[in-house]
Amino acid sequence: MKPPAFDYHAPATLDEALTLASQLGPDAKFIAGGQSLMPMLNFRLLRPSHLIDLNGIAVLAYLRVEAGELQIGAMTRHREVELSPIVREGWPLISECMPFVAHVQIRNRGTLGGSISHADPAAELPAVMTALEAKFVLQSSRATRTVTANDFFVGTLTTAAEPEELLTEIRVPALPQSTGWAFDELSRRHGDFALAGAAALVLLTPQGRIEWARLAFTGLGERPARARRTEEALRGQVPTEDIVRAAAEHSISDLAPESDLHASADYRRDIAKVIARRTLLRAIERSRAALQ
């Protein structure tokens, strides 16, 4: 189908974009890469009166490290992040999840800010950013604030950002050198949204005990979910496959996945356990390798 009629604005600066957003009110939508918004417009699931195009604001596309923190401008394209040596070196969890994000044609145009702001419950980046305990900078014409990933994702396609606020920067804290990582998901076809997926981070002590573990799921609820019970069960353990398997069993006790066309809730729970175990084991292995 074709999008409904709207008025189009192409600001050249961030200030201009934010001023437009405050003037036009909640009936205006920002458009970044458009890889989620355009299908919604084509299906007429959304009928905004105004689109504010961010593609002309070149200063919103960057990758940099400041004081150990990775800072990603909201208009940075997926593909650029996927291929970035800086990201691969310091935040390999992000690099590992990227090939799972749709297809290369989508990643060529889609942006990190767009994906995160869209907050699809089955998307990869919200779970990865939740595991990384990233922070998001939200700007409006009146104020700037920083929100944690945990507070940002509120529900299905719903975030803590007000309509006139724009996510302008993603800040990912540095991880200890020997942190192990893994992302994996199961989908019906390559590039489809995940039935279930998980991002894991594990830091081992030099003695081989788990100092901390983080596990975040995608596709298993309205928002990315940290598996706190699993994380707690692993803390201080010398991990064996049995210990990880048992901890992964806990991971889904707080989740309430839904049944849909693609998979039943029970099936989703089953594969979540498997993916939790696999990602945790791989992250442990990588932390161990880094310590040697």
Binding site: K2, M38, N42, N55, H190
Partner: protein, 159 residues
Amino acid sequence: MNKRKVRLEINGIQYEGEAEPRRLLSDFIREDLGLHGTHVGCEHGVCGACTIQWDGKAVRSCLALAVQANGARLRTVEGLAPNQDDLHPIQQAFTEMHALQCGFCTPGILMTAQALLRDNPQPSEAEIRDGLSGNLCRCTGYQNIVKAVLLAAEKLAQK
């Protein structure tokens, strides 16, 4: 809504047209500029038939607005063949390997494959399958398409 002027370069040629803000780039290319090589399938970014290159990158033209392409440099399937009589090596490989039946998906696959081979001139079969995973073909299956891209890589290496 008021129409806006859209000036852009496609396959090295300057074009100018007018488009409502809601005009999809795919429709603008086909209907307004008359370049019918780019096909339109699902219009929600799933099938890949409308894939074109924007600054050399394969993208879905159904997921962009014509007004966004003002000033852009695009390449469509019409820009592949060097002249009226000869095919591009990738097109030649598709013919030789019978990599199409109805041909509806072919323009999108060619534009994806060209960008893939430019960035990775000697791809493995797995890399080709991954690279083409965003393009659906509903008649041939993918065996011959993958073979054709492998053959195209050979042809391009010999050039």
